[in-house]
């Protein structure tokens, strides 16, 4: 039982002086120097974007956090090569997209090597209409090539313009258009054959 007159010694007051948040150059320099505060700033500034991109490109995924971490790791590995800090935002987005692309391709190869043995479904996932819709949507997307899938999601889910999509994917506008056309054609055929997706489309058409 502490004595009523006991006074606990104060702890030191330590304030980490923030890096200049409005300066991409400071953030890049901090990451190159492996300054932990720069890492926190990276998370604060890009965490939402990276998570959203991963969620939309991969769908509900047990390895979501691992993929996000891999994106951060790739950002750290390549940040020293950033020559124009002003374009750092776009560079990070491109790294995120490339990392997810690599993941999609790796999964495709793994699936091929398993000779069609499907990956187990998450056991604890409760079935809701939203989850069924997501599962069906990404099951259809899973049949597309990695580039087609990415361009489709960036355009139709992320709502980015085609020139923007082409720049982020690092291809010409014509190539982006070609991939998108192929993806749309394949997706729409498969979506109409899927009961959940076709129901969602019907319901969507009847929304006011």
């Amino acid at each position: 039982m502490p004595r009523p007159d006991a006074q606990e010694p104060e702890s030191a007051e330590v304030i980490e002086l923030a890096l200049e948040p409005s300066s991409p150059a400071a953030l890049v320099a901090g990451l190159v120097a492996r300054d932990p505060r720069a890492g926190r700033l990276l998370c604060a500034r890009f965490g939402a974007t990276i998570n959203r991109l991963v969620a939309r490109l991969l769908g509900p995924d047990q390895e979501h956090d691992d993929v996000v971490h891999q994106i951060y790791a790739n950002v750290l590995a390549g940040v020293a090569s950033v020559r124009e800090p002003a374009l750092f935002d776009r560079w990070v987005t491109r790294v995120a997209i490339l990392t997810v692309r690599r993941e999609i391709r790796a999964r495709t190869y793994r699936r091929l090597l398993r000779f069609g043995v499907s990956e187990p479904e998450p056991a604890d996932e409760k079935t809701t209409p939203q989850r069924m819709l997501l599962r069906s949507f990404y099951a259809v997307l899973g049949k597309l090539a990695a580039d087609e899938r990415i361009i489709f999601v960036l355009h139709h889910v992320e709502g980015r313009t085609l020139p923007e999509v082409a720049e982020l994917r690092g291809c010409s506008l014509a190539t982006a258009k070609r991939h998108l056309a192929r993806a749309r054609a394949a997706f729409e055929v498969a979506a109409r054959l899927d009961p959940v997706l076709s129901a969602a489309v019907e319901g969507g058409h009847h929304e006011p």
């Binding site: 502490p2 004595r3 007159d5 006991a6 606990e8 010694p9 104060e10 702890s11 030191a12 007051e13 330590v14 304030i15 980490e16 002086l17 120097a33 492996r34 300054d35 932990p36 505060r37 890492g39 926190r40 990276l42 998370c43 604060a44 965490g47 939402a48 998570n51 959203r52 969620a55 939309r56 956090d65 996000v68 971490h69 951060y72 790791a73 750290l76 590995a77 020293a80 939203q130 819709l133 997501l134 949507f137 489709f152 999601v153 355009h155 139709h156 889910v157 992320e158 709502g159 749309r184 997706f187 729409e188 979506a191 109409r192 997706l197 969602a200 489309v201 969507g204 058409h205």
Partner: protein
């Protein structure tokens, strides 16, 4: 647009709504923590492979490799914190208690109670700190190519490997620099044009207008500068107990201290808080605090160990640290006690063999300890001093794996080149 052509857009928008814009805060926090841990880890094999590949290439690539292999900035921690801090950082010591900024090379800046300072910038070639107000004790382990500067108001104290105290009073714009060991140079932005060298045993006092410059012996300093305790220059042993340890401190009438009156106890604690370790040590001995350590709680033991180390009292420091490891469950403090037992054995007891054992214990017990780099450095040194090159090479190899760009990398590389025969370390069973 026909409904048929809207399927992609329609479903895309629906999926965008379902996936949302941002994950929950706890997920983001977990990801941030993971990234934080990664950033604190040394670069792995991949970077090494890339560096080697780049090293083969000529021209620009070679330059990049050289740049990437530049020595890293010196790491430091504040007030016994287990995680390294990063500059710039602002620190205020609470009233009545010193706060230490400990650097990986063994240098330390201690802000006395109530003082305010900043670590302005730390690079591979320089460390710049600033004293905003109050008194700061500095113990700098000078290495070639690393410049240390302490700014106080318009003045700059440039360090050449030394133990000194800086006092800066902003209200009167008064600077006082007392040097216990080595040499410092003092210059200013404008008020004094020439540099002033202050050597060991002397105190420089500069008055408000910058013209009242007095240089005298420490004992006759106009400001009455206190004597500066001089701990071993290469020892990072001035670490004070971490804040959480101090918060757990017992009330003044704890089990130690004789008659239980607070004024008796406050003597040695107050002296320690003001950095007067020799005085605190003498007072603690006088009070018999070292005589029966079984009555002391962990917090008091830690404080006693600190002042004994500062006072270079190897035996008492060792006894207290051993007792500290006995009393509590394994914790950061008991791990640190192992490190300091190693440091005391090597630096004060001249017992390198014991030092090796304790340093190995620390490295084994605290896989993420703030002093791991220092422990490896000491381990290499002690093993070499014992004439055990294989053991030193092994420690160097471990160090380089964990701190490939650490402060001791040069020495570690040299030691790791020593012929290391694993069979000698692990002789076969007959």
């Amino acid at each position: 647009m026909s409904p048929e052509r809207d399927v992609s857009t329609l479903l895309g928008r629906r999926i965008a709504e379902l996936t949302g814009e941002s994950p929950d805060a706890s997920r983001l926090a977990r990801q941030q923590l993971r990234l934080d841990q990664r950033m604190r880890r040394p670069a792995g094999r991949r970077r090494l492979a890339l560096a080697l590949a780049a090293g083969v290439a000529a021209g620009v690539v070679g330059v990049l490799v050289l740049r990437s292999s530049a020595p890293p900035a010196l790491r430091f921690s504040i007030d016994g914190g287990s995680a390294p801090s990063a500059a710039p950082v602002w620190v205020r010591a609470p009233a009545g208690r010193a706060v230490e900024i400990a650097f990986a090379d063994g240098s330390a800046l201690a802000l006395e109670g109530g003082a305010v300072g900043r670590v302005v910038d730390v690079t591979s070639g320089s460390v710049r700190a600033a004293l905003e107000s109050g008194r700061m004790q500095a113990r700098i382990h000078h290495r070639p190519g690393v410049e240390w500067v302490v700014d106080a108001g318009p003045y700059h104290v440039r360090v050449e490997g030394t133990v000194f105290t800086v006092t800066w009073t902003p209200a009167s714009e008064t600077l006082e620099v007392s040097v216990a060991e080595g040499i410092v140079r003092v210059d200013s932005d404008a008020k004094i044009q020439a540099q002033t060298r202050v050597t060991a045993g002397h105190t420089l006092r500069i008055g408000g207008d910058g013209k009242d410059v007095v240089l005298g012996s420490a004992a006759e300093a106009p400001g009455g500068a206190p004597p500066v305790a001089a701990p071993p220059p290469a020892l990072p042993t001035s670490r004070l107990p971490p804040p959480h340890v101090r918060r757990a401190a017992p009330p003044p009438a704890g089990p130690v201290g004789g008659d239980g009156s607070s004024h008796v106890r406050a003597g040695w604690r107050e002296a320690a808080a003001r950095g007067r370790y020799a005085e605190a040590h003498a007072e603690a001995i006088q009070q018999g605090l070292f005589d029966d350590l079984t009555r002391a709680d962990a917090e008091t033991l830690w404080e006693l160990a600190t002042i004994a180390r500062y006072a270079r009292d190897a035996k008492r420091a060792r006894d207290v640290l051993l007792r500290l490891r006995e009393v509590g469950p394994p914790s950061e403090r008991t791990h640190l006690a192992a490190f300091f037992l190693g440091a005391v054995a090597a630096d004060l007891g001249r017992n390198e063999s014991e030092a090796v054992e304790w340093l190995e214990t620390y490295l084994r017990e605290d896989a993420a300890g703030a002093l791991r780099e220092e422990a490896f450095g000491r381990l290499m040194r002690s093993a070499s001093a014992l004439g055990r090159p294989a053991e030193a090479a092994k420690a160097a190899a471990r160090y380089l794996r964990e701190f490939p760009r650490g402060a001791y990398q040069k020495a570690a590389h040299e030691m790791a080149r020593e012929p290391y025969d694993e069979r000698k370390e692990n002789p076969r069973e007959p």
